[in-house]
């Protein structure tokens, strides 16, 4: 049985006082059982911090506020002991780099069986082993009997990522959080891993929170998207609608800057400037300095997300007043 994940007004701050870094500044998101939500953003946008904050994977010195509800449980209020029981059991995590995620000295089987034993999914070693083989088979590993004995260095990057996915789904979690799980992989392997996520979701009611910087990966997955920038969501909605008719000037600029066939060399549209680094603050909209449509009001307070269509929101007062689907011209963008 799967549960609804609902995040409300999530703030994550590293450190305190003068040197505090506000990495996440008020994120709301919701995933239906079996649904997919993609957090799309560039480096430093706070997308990974959002994902990790849901699991409370931070040490003391980090302040996480807001609400994270899984089913009828409020995760932010849980003591750490209870949270530990929940990680891996109800929320699985696939990190970006499978090599760093696995213990290089232990076999894949031992690391997979550990999860099953800790969460008491398997009552004894023999059943844990049997289940581990099944899991490796389920993530598309052709030779599970061999791989279960292998140490991470004996496997290719794609196989390692499959093994990590097997560990993450070992306990049939309600929610799988995947943080750039395909970024370190070659494109042909990446395509197969995306296909695997799709299959896994079809087989169970597991919901998927995918963190990625890759617009193409987001498009492949479908579901809903939240476009993050400087710790805030700038635009949300069904992925295919957002990508085919973006409303926020940042989303528009980002999509226009992708090299696509038919764009003459030297004529890619660009967003001037660069994304702010994690924790770089501004009083108003963080995109205002790069935005051709920015007005005075944009610099005084960050605009809230407002409805811009069925199931769609954008945090921009300017675009909200312009016709649907309007794309800023290159002159505006490069001004």
């Amino acid at each position: 049985m799967s549960s609804h994940l609902k995040v409300t007004d999530l703030h994550t701050t590293f450190g305190s006082g003068e040197r505090a870094v506000n990495a996440v500044r008020g994120v709301d998101l919701e995933i239906e059982p079996g649904g997919t939500y993609v957090l799309l953003g560039e480096s430093g946008s706070g997308k990974s911090v959002t994902a990790r904050s849901i699991l409370r994977l931070y040490q003391s010195g980090t302040t996480i506020t807001g609400s994270v509800r899984l089913g009828d449980e409020e995760l932010t209020a849980l003591p750490e002991r209870r949270m530990r029981q929940l990680r891996g059991l109800r929320i699985g995590m696939v990190p970006q780099d499978p090599t760093g995620a696995l213990d290089p000295l232990r076999s894949i089987g031992s690391q997979l069986m550990e999860v099953l034993r800790v969460h008491q999914i398997a009552p004894d070693r023999a059943s844990a082993r049997k289940r581990a083989v099944e899991l490796l088979d389920r993530v598309g590993i052709a030779d599970p009997q061999r791989v279960i004995k292998a140490r991470p260095h004996m496997l290719s990057g794609g196989m390692r990522q499959r093994a990590v996915i097997a560990i993450a789904i070992a306990c049939n979690p309600d929610v799988l959080i995947a943080d750039e799980p395909t970024t370190a992989l070659d494109v042909t392997v990446q395509a197969a891993v995306i296909e695997l996520f799709r299959e896994l979701q079809q087989q169970s009611e597991m919901s998927l929170l995918m963190v990625t910087h890759d617009v193409g990966v987001a498009e492949e997955l479908g579901g809903n998207v939240g476009v993050m920038y400087a710790g805030r969501l700038l635009e949300t909605g069904p992925i295919r609608e957002v990508l085919s008719a973006p409303k926020h000037p940042y989303t528009q600029g980002l999509l226009a800057s992708l090299p696509m066939p038919g764009v003459a060399r030297g004529h890619l549209q660009v967003i001037p400037g660069r994304p702010p680094l994690t924790g770089e603050t501004s009083t108003g909209c963080a995109f205002a300095d790069r935005c051709a449509l920015a007005q005075e009001s944009c610099r005084t307070a960050p605009p809230p997300l407002v409805e811009v269509g069925t199931g769609r929101q954008a945090a921009c007062p300017v675009v909200n007043g312009t016709p649907v689907g309007r794309t800023a011209t290159s002159e505006e963008l490069s001004a």
């Binding site: 494109v187 395509a191 197969a192 696509m260 066939p261 004529h267 890619l268 660069r274």
Partner: protein, 334 residues
């Protein structure tokens, strides 16, 4: 701002092909225990043009680049720069090659010395090639301005700059010696997309103005298609397809290229999902190296790796199955 950086005359794009500026013939590199990283690779780069090399990790693209840059000696084959074998060059000839052939590496965080200011890094390169103090002083601000950095950045250290700025700095350093060929090894891969577009545009503008030739190496087919005149697709140490960028993109003739294209996320094509992964280059399959994953493989594919043969004028592929990708009976999903 049009600052003239080099005396190299820019060839108009329609200039007739002359002797290639960079010409690699039959390169082979075998590492230690018999890993055939590069097998019989031949490539040519004309002045003022861009040759893209695309392939996945372990396909030999960076090893090839190192041999073209004379950072690695080939076991077989030769590399000619402007008609001269670069691996025979010594002394001043070699220094002159280094001046004319520069590189923009993948990771500017590690390629720029963290203890030197940007000015010192660029000056270091210029001094090595005999540029005097007065000229360095005059040209460094021009170079920075040309790559879109404020001249005040000359005094900055790498840790004070963002990834996009560092990559601009690495480009400025490469251009400082007025090169004719710049090898870009995954030069935009580490950048955010919105910044990547800026750097791609900058590279295109510089090529137009200065008549530069680029050898552009990337795993990202969309980027390579965008920036290149010609594209070479590598797999397991070999070039499996080579041709004009738009033809390779629109009409791939090797099943591996077709797969790579269909795997590029967001590209609207029937997805071909490959079984297996890149074979171990130390123990490659017999015959065609792609046959173990290829949906078209037949018995004859296990005999020899086919040579590149012409498909449409100027477009080559190494596959016994001679048909356009659109007609390939590929298993497609979704």
């Amino acid at each position: 701002m049009n600052v003239v950086l080099a005396e190299v005359p820019a060839l108009p794009p329609e200039a007739p092909a002359v002797r290639p500026l960079l010409d690699a013939q039959g390169l082979v590199k075998v590492f230690g225990t018999g890993v055939r990283a590069v097998s019989n690779v031949s490539l040519t780069l004309q002045a003022g043009q861009t040759l893209g090399i695309v392939g996945e990790s372990g396909c030999g693209k960076s090893t090839t680049a190192k041999m073209l840059l004379r950072l690695l000696a080939p076991d077989e084959g030769r590399v000619f720069f402007d008609g001269e074998d670069i691996h025979q060059m010594r002394g001043r000839r070699l220094t002159e090659l280094r001046r004319r052939l520069q590189v923009v590496p993948q990771n500017p965080q590690t390629s720029l010395n963290p203890r030197l200011t940007l000015e010192q890094s660029i000056a270091f390169n210029m001094r090595a090639h005999g540029y005097g103090a007065a000229e360095r002083k005059r040209r460094i601000p021009e170079l920075l301005d040309r790559v879109g950095l404020d001249p005040s950045y000359a005094a900055r250290y790498p840790h004070q700059m963002s990834g996009g700025q560092l990559q601009r700095a690495a480009i400025a350093r490469a251009l400082a010696t007025e090169p004719e060929v710049v090898v870009c090894d995954e030069a935009v891969s580490a950048l955010d997309k919105s910044v990547q577009a800026q750097v791609l545009n900058l590279l295109s503008e510089l090529q137009q103005e200065l008549g530069l030739a680029y050898l552009f190496i990337s795993h990202d087919l969309a980027v390579v298609e965008h920036i290149s005149d010609r594209v070479a697709v590598m797999y397991l140490g070999r070039v499996v397809e080579e041709g004009p960028a738009d033809q390779v993109w629109n009409d791939p003739r090797h099943p591996y290229t077709a797969t790579l294209l269909s795997s590029t996320p967001g590209v609207d094509r029937n997805r071909i999902v490959l079984g297996g992964e890149l074979p171990n280059p130390a123990n490659p399959p017999s015959g065609c190296g792609f046959r173990t994953r290829c949906p078209l493989a037949t018995a004859e594919c296990s005999e020899t790796w086919p040579n590149l043969t012409v498909r449409t004028p100027d477009h080559y592929a190494s596959c016994v199955h001679d048909e356009p990708a659109s007609l390939m009976p590929m298993p497609a999903t979704a």
